[in-house]
Symmetry: C2
Subunit: 228 residues, 2 copies
């Protein structure tokens, strides 16, 4: 029996139910403590601690200590991306269509993907920003146009501030429920934050579901129209 490729090692880390539950909980982009993650997984704190150590060593998580509390977040966008991909496979978007439950429909409509908006609403945002030429493809990158920067500033997003930070401003993130791109990067995160500030959308504290109010959805559709 040959030694497996490294993908076996990474996949095996995700392939344990307790660890998968914890990773899924972290898809919201929040960092959670060992105790919180133990609860998410439904195991004792000592078991959770052991699992988290493995995920850390495997490069999937990033720990941060604050006094007696130790917080874990996903290590990177890439981890989130792979988890999204696995969700797509698990949902049978590969080639068999599974029955969709109510929660699934909500997640498909709008959900948090590592702090930015994903799902139908997420891809609508991206498509509209492209269509209105606020974003454009520049060969290998997505860049914010001048018109886009002005638009964002009018929407009270501090573009200069975002540009000063280390995080990339715009990134494409392939949305596995929609099979198209949604906007990641600090701008994507800023948009979601703004939708919350305006009470257009509300993040479910327990899941990744993002719920748009009727008023918020109307405002969103007005501001981010797409030809569909």
């Amino acid at each position: 029996m040959k030694e497996g490729p490294d993908i076996a090692r990474v996949a095996a880390l995700i392939g344990d139910p307790a660890r998968a539950n914890m990773l899924t909980a972290l898809m919201s982009g929040k960092a959670l403590t060992v105790s919180e993650l133990a609860e998410e997984a439904g195991v004792t704190i000592q078991t959770a601690s052991s699992h988290l150590s493995k995920l850390d060593e495997g490069g999937l998580l990033r720990p941060r200590k604050q006094g007696r509390h130790k917080y874990f977040g996903l290590a990177s966008d890439d981890v989130a991306h792979v988890l999204e991909g696995l969700m797509g496979l698990a949902a049978g978007s590969g080639h068999l269509r599974k029955r969709i439950g109510p929660r699934d429909a909500e997640l498909r409509q709008a959900r948090v993907c590592y702090n930015h908006l994903a799902g139908d609403k997420g891809t609508q945002l991206f498509d509209s920003l492209i269509a209105q030429e606020y974003l454009r493809h520049d060969g290998e990158h997505i860049v914010l146009t001048k018109a886009g920067a002005a638009f964002a500033e009018r929407f009270e997003i501090d573009i200069d501030g975002l540009r000063k930070a280390r995080a990339p401003l715009c990134r494409e993130c392939l949305d596995w429920s929609e099979r198209r791109s949604h906007l990641a990067g600090s701008l994507g995160r800023a948009f979601l934050g703004r939708f919350e500030e305006l009470s257009w959308a509300k993040r479910d504290q327990k899941t990744r579901v993002v719920t748009f109010s009727a008023k918020g959805a109307k405002a969103f559709d007005g501001m981010f129209p797409v030809s569909r």
Copy 2:
């Protein structure tokens, strides 16, 4: 202990070394027999058979029987995509940079990803086709322009024939070694096939490495220029 999300089930399937070896072997896009896959994994035929049954039931593989032979291929692009993502994580592109071995460098340069060209050369192809407006983003899709169709026909790719088939013509596939898109879909596959016909590039029979001859690389660079 809570029951795990479905991603645990899918990931666990990939997380076994024997199964991971088989999936990796199938990334070339070829379909292999049970015996061949047993050899790839370094297990007996009966063990391989058992594993393949699980991968089939899990929706990751698609079997096809031909007389006494049973061939397995990856179920879809999506499966290939997730495997690529895991490779990126395993390579530490997440946040830790692993030492790159000789084989890694070759795979990064040019490799087969489910029958189309990936790696540096793959993203170059995509970027150039976009830059030359042979391909363009149409909101959610990549479409071949008229100019692009003409270009492809001049390159002796039967666009009408491809359009008649069920497979999508153009698809973006996120390239994990390059972190940008490369061209998937039937057009992507046709391009790789053509490069082989012209002896510009040669597929390694044992691995996914695609090697461009000096002459081929020169011709490729000439036909698919990018501003880099």
